[in-house]
């Protein structure tokens, strides 16, 4: 601001010096005449003609170098802006289209992914059920086998026990009777005994 003030003052002072200097020089050289209260001469056709020519030349030059190129430029700029806006609109429509497509693709992909997951879940579930069923089957098979083995073992043990009991009974009977009984008696007696007492023994 302060600097501007000095610039202005400087220009002002310089202008003053120029005016005064020029006036002084003009006066000193006698170029300056005492201004007469003279109304300019009327009807100088040459000045009128020249003025008209000069004015139209200026008009033509300003039109050629000023208005014409600027009008063209303004028009060109308008066209450029319009085409840019149009292009932007086209691009926007295209982008919208692409966005819609992308969204559709995304939705489809998501659906597919969900299907895949669902299928995987289903498969897993099936496999799980399968495995469990198999395991159950195996277990039941094993259980049955174990039970049959147990039954067999029980039967074997029962038979063995029965044999042992027969033997013991025979030994006891021998002791009581103190005589040998025939094999046939023996077996008969045992069978009867076992049949009677079998239920108690097992």
């Amino acid at each position: 601001m302060r600097r501007n003030k000095w610039v202005y003052l400087g220009i002002l002072a310089l202008s003053l010096v120029m005016v005064m200097g020029f006036a002084t020089v003009a006066m000193a050289t006698g170029a300056v005449a005492d201004p007469e209260p003279a109304v300019p001469e009327w009807g100088n056709w040459y000045v009128m003609g020249w003025s008209a020519v000069n004015f139209f030349v200026l008009l033509a030059l300003l039109y050629k170098f000023g208005f014409n190129p600027i009008n063209n430029m303004l028009e060109e700029r308008t066209n450029t802006i319009e085409s840019s806006i149009k292009h932007a609109e086209e691009v926007r429509v295209e982008v919208d289209q692409m966005q819609k497509e992308a969204q559709a693709n995304l939705a489809e992909s998501r659906k597919e992914a969900q299907e895949i997951v669902a299928r995987a879940n289903r498969t897993a579930e099936e496999m799980k059920t399968d495995i469990i069923n198999k395991a159950n089957e195996e277990v039941s098979t094993m259980k049955e086998r174990a039970l049959s083995e147990i039954d067999a073992a029980t039967e074997a043990a029962r038979v063995e026990l029965r044999d042992t009991a027969v033997t013991l009974a025979i030994m006891a009977a021998e002791r009581v009777l103190e005589r040998a009984i025939t094999e046939e008696d023996h077996k008969k007696m045992v069978r009867e005994f076992v049949n009677e007492a079998g239920d108690y023994l097992c």
Binding site: F22, A23, P35, A38, E41, N54, L61, L62
Partner: protein
Amino acid sequence: MIFGMWDSVLFHLGPIPVDHLVVTQWCIVVILALVAYSATRDMQLVPRGLQNAFEAAVVWTYDFFTQLMDKEHIAKKYAPLLSTFFLFILFSNYSGLIPGAAHIPGFQPPTSNWNVTIVLAVITVFAVHIAGFQEHGLGYMNHFLSPNPAMLPLNLLEEITHPLSLTLRLFGNIFGEEMIIAYMLFLVPFLVPFALMALSVLLAFIQAIVFTILSASYIATATGDDH
């Protein structure tokens, strides 16, 4: 001798005398043409510097004259002419502020001579009527009979007073201003003329504006729909 100071012949171009005034006009034409040329020499789509200022000025004149004249196509058509009036008159008026003007014989603002201002006024008259006929065709003639055929003499008188007032207003203001400054420089050649010169900067601008706006309003009246 009395008129010599104001209207002297500087040289002859063949048989045609060339006055000082005419040379001043040439200088103005050359300066304005050079500025216009340098502004639009290398036009860019994105304007910079002088081109930007020049474009802004041109667009401003379009807007200004459109507001003034109501019809955009007329404003755009006559903006170059009216702008040339403005610039030519403005630079002519300002040439009177160059040191030595009105003191050195022959060196005076062209607009301080009514041979020049009447030419400008006559150009305005032609422009007004051409614009009127272009806009309304032969119906433009009704303009002279409106609002009543009895007004014909007054309307015709108006066609004379318009250019006369344009001529005399511009000539009188600039001539008077030049005379006062010349006398002041002669009588009190220090500080006092300076204040007057500062005032005449404003005056020169106002006169250029007034001539332009009046011409525009005459054209607007001739092309308007109200007659």
